[in-house]
Structures are given as structure tokens and as C-alpha cells.
């Protein structure tokens, strides 16, 4: 059965090659992150962490958890949930940073 016909019956399918490419990217990003953290000075390590880690999480969300292929409702809900956590931590720092 063709991919298209399969998908018509069984919903969107993420092809194996895509999954493997995402996995490989995640591996590489992990190794880069480790390398930067261990070898370079702290500031660069922190920036690497702040940038690479959400990127890895994003790849898992988008491809492994299928979020890229979901509708705006689900994407919006995820955004609301993540923003809520970010706001909680951010607002906390109004206190923690100024005490």
C-alpha cells in the first residue's frame, strides 16, 4: 500500500528515515553540549545549555511526539502549558533576584 493510501486510513505516518535523522541529531546535540560544558568556560557552557537543551526537547516534541503534524489546538495547548511554567519560574525571580 502506498504511503498516501496508508495515511488516508491510518493517520499521518512519520517515516523511519525521519525518525532516525532526528535521533542522530539528538545524539550529536548531546555530545556537543557535553563537550562545550566540559571544555569551555562557564558562560559559554550556560549559553549552550540554554540553547541546545530546549532544542533537543523541541525535536522530541515535534517529531517523536508528533506535534509538528498536529493541529493548532494541540500546539496552542502545549504553548500554554510551557508558558505557564516559564512564567511561574520567571515571576519567582522577581523575588529571588532582589532579595
Amino acid at each position: 500500500m502506498t504511503q498516501l493510501a496508508l495515511e488516508a486510513d491510518h493517520g499521518h505516518i512519520v517515516p523511519y528515515p525521519t525518525l532516525i535523522k532526528v535521533w542522530a541529531t539528538l545524539l550529536v546535540l548531546t555530545l556537543i553540549l557535553t563537550f562545550v560544558s566540559k571544555v569551555f568556560h562557564e558562560l559559554l557552557a550556560v549559553w549552550a545549555m540554554l540553547f541546545i537543551t530546549p532544542l533537543k526537547a523541541g525535536l522530541v516534541f515535534y517529531f517523536f511526539m508528533h506535534l509538528k503534524f498536529e493541529g493548532p489546538l494541540l500546539k496552542g495547548m502545549v504553548l500554554v502549558a510551557l508558558s505557564t511554567l516559564v512564567i511561574f519560574i520567571g515571576m519567582l525571580f522577581f523575588d529571588v533576584s532582589f532579595r
Binding site: 489546538l73 505557564t84 519567582l92 523575588d95 533576584s97 532579595r99
Partner: protein, 541 residues
Amino acid sequence: MSAMAAHVLGEEPSYLEAGGRGLRSWILSTDHKRIGILYLVCMLSFFLVGATIGVLMRLEQLTMGPTIMQPQTYNAMFTVHGVIMIFLFVIPGLPAVFGNFFLPILIGAKDVAFPRLNLLSWYFFVTGAVLAVTSLFTGSGPPDTGWTFYAPYSIRTGTNVSLAVFAAFVLGFSSILTGINFVTTIHRLRAPGMGWHRMPLFPWSLYATGWVQILATPIIGITLLLVILERFFGIGVFDPAKGGDPLLYQHLFWIYSHPAVYIMILPAMGAITEIIPTFAHRTIFGYRFIAYSSVAIAALGSVVWGHHMFTSGMGEMANVVFSLLTFLVAIPSAIKVFNWVSTLYKGSIVVEPPMLYALTFIFLFSIGGLTGLMQGALAVNVHLHDTYFIVGHFHYVMFGGTGFAFFASLLYWFPKMFGKMYNRTVAIIAWFPLFIGFNMLYFTMLVLGVMGMPRRYYDHLPQFHTAHVIATVGSWFLATGLLILLGNFVVALFKGRKAEANPWGGVSLEWTISSPPPMENFEQVPTIAGPPYHFNPAVHR
């Protein structure tokens, strides 16, 4: 009439008969209506226990020095009073009873999205309640920390904190699962033709509440877990001796517990929004404002938690930010009040019991809200924090607000739920001791607080004595009113006359089906053709 006879006559048996009548058929039922009743019975029982503790506390304050108990007992009393009232009555509150019963009906559905999950929610509720009650009688005695369980005392005290806190943790699951169920139900099970802006406003409020249940409750979950871990393993996160910061406990606690008060009030406001148009015989004023203000309150209400901590040692910057946001969150609430009152304007008002209690809600909630604003002002808060003013404030919003909305909803929907009508005169008679007692008790507390009487104190100084006596006498009137109101319902269950399908002339979907409703609510799923509060001015009682 028997289910068989009704069926032969072409009438469907009601949900009270279909599916069995024994205990097993109730506690294993996945019918949202039965689950709502299960919650109702449990919650009213817990309410009565919590109210009794309240009366006992007030008796203690009738005289200076010991009256009927020792200080340690008093500390346990106000803790348990808070835990029971908040976790077992007000937070489950309207969603557990009226949300469960009426959400599917109001959107034209046959049940919620996940009926078995719904029953599981109730099981979690009962389990948590049993654990909470157990904590009163086992170990080194009931917790004495206040329902807020502040560290470091909650870590150090020998009383049964771990069990009580674990009970609250289990109760959290009940709330979360209900929230997930309701949000999904509203997204997926609205009847054909019911777009979001044709949905009645009680479901709108349940939707906003559901999100708060989902996003806020896990924070109390982890916080309570950490208290248990601290007590058993000494992790150190709230222990100053190990570098921990007790203020972080307060942050985590209130990040949930402030949004929790919106879990308490939003559905109450939603129910009031259903009641007022019916008895004003006018469509609701400002439908979209009320709908969106529910969402706004849920959102804004999630970022104001610091106003519980103004005097705890937060930095000035945090104080200012939280104070400002607290003032902002009052705005959508005020918008609702304006809309309810505007709905009355040029309406054809009939003061039946539900309407009387709904109007009372508006009055009492407004006092509660305004006193909340007062507390949100930093300079004022320094004087009012941890005084009786706070106690008065939250009883006005939680009891005068959610409590009275609960009563109003029961008065409104009782005939539909049970197919019996209660004695309306008695319901109105009950209002008088309720209203007088309520204000005697809680307005006096506001005055006591301004005078400087601290809260959670077992005893009081002579200058506060007269006010305390007034408050205690008020509690007796209040208790009397409660007994009359609730007793009236119990009598109606057994001896009330049969209620018609639409005793109040309402226009939402629940009034189109029989009282009590059949098992699957609608014989045919309705198709919705227009907005929800369509009153024909030429046709009214």
C-alpha cells in the same frame, strides 16, 4: 411509578431508576449524574463536619481563657476546619456536583468524555477524604500547622502532618482528572450547532476552571510530596539549617493555592450567570465579556500568588509586582458583577429562592472582593496580614461567594436533579438567619482585624472581647439557617411534591428534559440553532 410501567407508557425511566437502585449500582456507576450526587452527599457531610468544628472554635472564643478546649486542640481545630472546608468542600465545590451533573446536559451531550475516569476521580476524592479523617485519629494527633502547612514548622512538628498532606496529595488527583475530563468534554462533545459562542456560561466557567485544575494542582502535588520527603529524609529544601529557604515553600504553596481560589469561585460565578437570566427573564448582558473574563481571571489569577507573602520577607520588587497584578485581577471580576446587575435592568424579576440566594451572592462576594483589594495594597497589608480581617475576607468570598452560589445552585437545580420540589417558603425563611448570622459573624471579623486581633490565636485580649461574643452569636444564627436550609432539602427528597420539567421557566437545555433526567439525558441529541439565553419577552410567568 415503576421503571417498567414508565417504560410501557413510553416514558424513559430516570437515571435514579435505570441502572439499578442498590448501593453497588451507585458506587460503580459511570453516569455523570450519579457521580455528581455521590459527590454531593459526601461533600455536604464534610461541610457539616467542618461547620461543626467552626461552631466549636467560636464557642472557644466566647470567653477569654480556656472555654471548652486547650490551645493545642484549638490549633488542631483550625487546621482541620481549613483542610476539610477547602479540600473536601470548596475546591471540589460546584464542578464536582453541578459540573458533573449539568455540563454534559448543558452542551447537549450524553455524558462526559471519559465516564470511567470520572468515577475514578470520585474514588480519589473518597480515598483522600478517608486519609484526611484518619489523620485526625492516628499518630501523634491531628496536624496543628494551619491548613497552609508552612515550613519549617510543618517539617518539625510531631503531629500527623505527613498523613494529612498525603491525603491532600491524593485529593489533587481527583481535581486534576476532573479538569482533564471537563476540558476534553467541552472541546469534543458539544452538540451540533453549538459553537463556542453558543455555549452557556456555566460550561465556559468550567472550561477556565479545568485549565487551572490541570496547570496549578501539580504544584501543590510536588510541594506536599516535598514536605513528606523533608519529614522523612531531611532533603533540606525548606530547612534553613541546610541552606534551604522556607520562603520557597510559601512560593510553591501559593502558586497553587491562589489559583485554587479561582477554582473555587469561577464555577460559582458561572452558576450565578445561569440563574440570574432565568429569574430576570432577560438574556445575559455582555455574554462575551462574561465568557472571556472567566479566562482572564484564570490567567491573571495565576500570577498574583505573592500577595499572600507581602510580609514574609520577599523583596520590595516582588511585592510591588504582585500588588499591581492583584489589582488588575479584580477588573474581570468586577466586569462580571456589572454584567449581572445590568442583566437585571429592565428585566421582569421574580424573586424565587434561587434568585434570592444569587442576589445575596453578588452582595457578599462584592464585599469579599473589595476587602481583597484592600489587602492587595502593600501598606495596608502590613497591618492586616494574619489578622481576623483576612479571615473575614476569605469567608466572604469562599462562603458568601462559593458557599451561597452552591446553595443557589442547589435551590435552582434540585427539582431537576431529584424530580421533587422543596418548600420554597422554608427556603426563603432560612435566608434570614443565614444572612444575618453570616454578616454578624464575618463582618465583625473584618472589624476585629482592623482593630488588630491576630488570626489562629486561641485566646484574645479584653479589647476584642465584645466583638468576639457578637461573632459567636452570629455563628449560632448562621448554623440555624444552615440546618433549616439543608433540612428542607432532605425533607423534600422524601416528601416533596413531584417537580415539573421546567419549574422556573429556564431556557437552557436542562429544562427541555424530564425531572429527573433519563439515563442518557437526551432521546435525540439536540441541534443548536441560536445563542443560549434567548428569552421571548412576550412569554414569561
